[in-house]
Structures are given as structure tokens and as C-alpha cells.
Symmetry: C2
Subunit: 124 residues, 2 copies
DNA sequence: ATATTATATAACTAAATGGATATGTTCGAT
DNA sequence: ATCGAACATATCCATTTAGTTATATAATAT
């Protein structure tokens, strides 16, 4: 799987609130399909489909315990999604800082104009 | 917009490689629609649709400069997605540590059995 | 006024998603 | 051998997505 398509699959998986809840639950430890389904007002096959998507995306893997198919988190792809966001967060913050700096500059200039026109500082 | 559906929209937006590339480009600063479209082998309306999704998800906003509609990043929803992942990363890592601890324990036990059976330590 | 540039909207298509119900399959229990 | 539990698969449906081409709108340039 190409890195891009891995990210596609990971973010697609994260786009559904049911799947995010399942992942959140699995962050606490393994769970069977029935256990995972229990909180949701949704049929068991619907949950199985979500789990299949999560498995194809590599976000979970499954074992075997009698009839149970315990699911567990696979953290790697999630870490990559996290990395993607982290990598750009720096730039977004830098952008924010530039914007902040610009606003400060505009504000200072406006104030300077006011001061000049009025000959005194009336605050803001 | 509920926090969950904001995350839905954000992760849905991030699930497409074209949109991720657009966001990556915008992390460097504002850009017009044409500029954003230029790297892609895709029609202009296709890009406009991607931008519309990004805008509806609150990930970008648009200004006006003559005929241009410059797009700029809105970092807030991305920060929330980042937070979601960060929040669970801790737990995933904790899981890893538990797994490591378990493996260490099993290995130690296996070694103890070996030692007991053979009366000496042959290493591993 | 008209032509050009930049962008948006409409209408259409194919494929993917998210759900349902119905039916298989697998494995332990009786 | 059969029953029940846990889970998967099949089929169906409505909606969304991602792209297309064709056309409309908005603002500038001539």
C-alpha cells in the first residue's frame, strides 16, 4: 500500500463516528465483536462491516478465541495519520503567528494615526 | 455543528489525497483556485468541488481579490482532529507498553522453565 | 459594449458508503 | 448429532463521492 493510500484508508476510517468510538474502545484493550457492538443502536452486521473496513485499513487485527474474534488496535497507521497532522501543525501555527503579527502591526499603525491626529492617546 | 460531526467532516476532508495536497499547499500561504488546481490532472470544476467540501468542513475560508477567490487555511478544525488523535495516542502507546511487558514476562517465564529443566542457563 | 479571465453551478455517471434483513458458517455445549 | 452463540456473508436500498462536460456568473481589460 502506498503511503498516500494508507492515509486515505486511515482518514476514511476515522471519518465515521461509530468507527472512532470502536477505536476509542479498543484503546482500552481487546474486545469481541459483540462487546464492541453493544453500545450502538445498530445491527451486528453493520458493526461487522465497520470492523472489516478497520481491518482492511490495517487499524485493527483479529485473533481467535473459541467463537469469539477478539479485535485489537494496530497503532502504526494511526501514528502515521498523527504524524501527517503534526507535520503540518507547525506550519499552521507559523501561519497563525504571521497573521497575529500582521494584526498587531495594523493595530499599532491605526493607533499611531489616531495619536497623531488627536495629539494624545485615548486607549482602545 | 456538534463536535462529533465536525470531526466527521474534518476526517472526511482529509481522506482524499487531492484535498490533503491542497491543505498542504495552503499551509504555505494563500492561493487562488487556479493556482491550487495547477498541479492536478483534473478539471477546474473538480477542484472547485473539493474546495467547496473543504469550506463546508470549515478547513478553509475564501476572500475576494478581483476575479480571484483566494483560499486560506482555517487551522482550528485541524487542530481538533490533531487533538483527537493525540488524546488516544497516549492510550495506544500505553497498550504497546502493556504488550511489551507481557512479552517480557512470557519470555522470562519460558526461560525460567528452561533453566529449571536443564539445571543451567544456556542463554537465548 | 464586448471579450477574457477566474470561478461557480448544473446535470450526468460510476463507484463507494452505511444501513437493513436474511442466511451461512464455526465452534463449544448438551 | 444437534443446538445455540458468535460472527460473517449476501443481497438490497438510499445517499454520498468524485469525476466528467457544458454553461453561467463576476470582474477586469479593451
Amino acid at each position: 500500500m502506498t503511503p498516500a493510500s494508507q492515509l486515505d484508508a486511515t482518514f476514511t476510517a476515522l471519518a465515521d463516528p461509530t468507527r472512532r468510538a470502536i477505536l476509542a474502545r479498543l484503546a482500552l484493550g481487546e474486545a469481541s465483536v459483540t462487546e464492541l457492538a453493544q453500545p450502538f443502536a445498530m445491527s451486528q452486521p453493520a458493526i461487522s462491516k465497520h470492523l472489516k473496513m478497520l481491518e482492511r485499513a490495517g487499524l485493527i487485527s483479529r485473533g481467535r478465541d473459541a467463537q469469539r474474534r477478539p479485535c485489537r488496535l494496530e497503532a502504526q497507521p494511526l501514528a502515521e495519520a498523527n504524524d501527517w497532522l503534526e507535520r503540518y501543525r507547525q506550519l499552521w501555527e507559523a501561519n497563525f503567528q504571521r497573521l497575529d503579527a500582521l494584526l498587531d502591526e495594523m493595530k499599532a499603525q491605526a493607533k499611531a494615526v489616531t495619536d497623531k491626529n488627536q495629539g494624545k492617546n485615548q486607549g482602545e
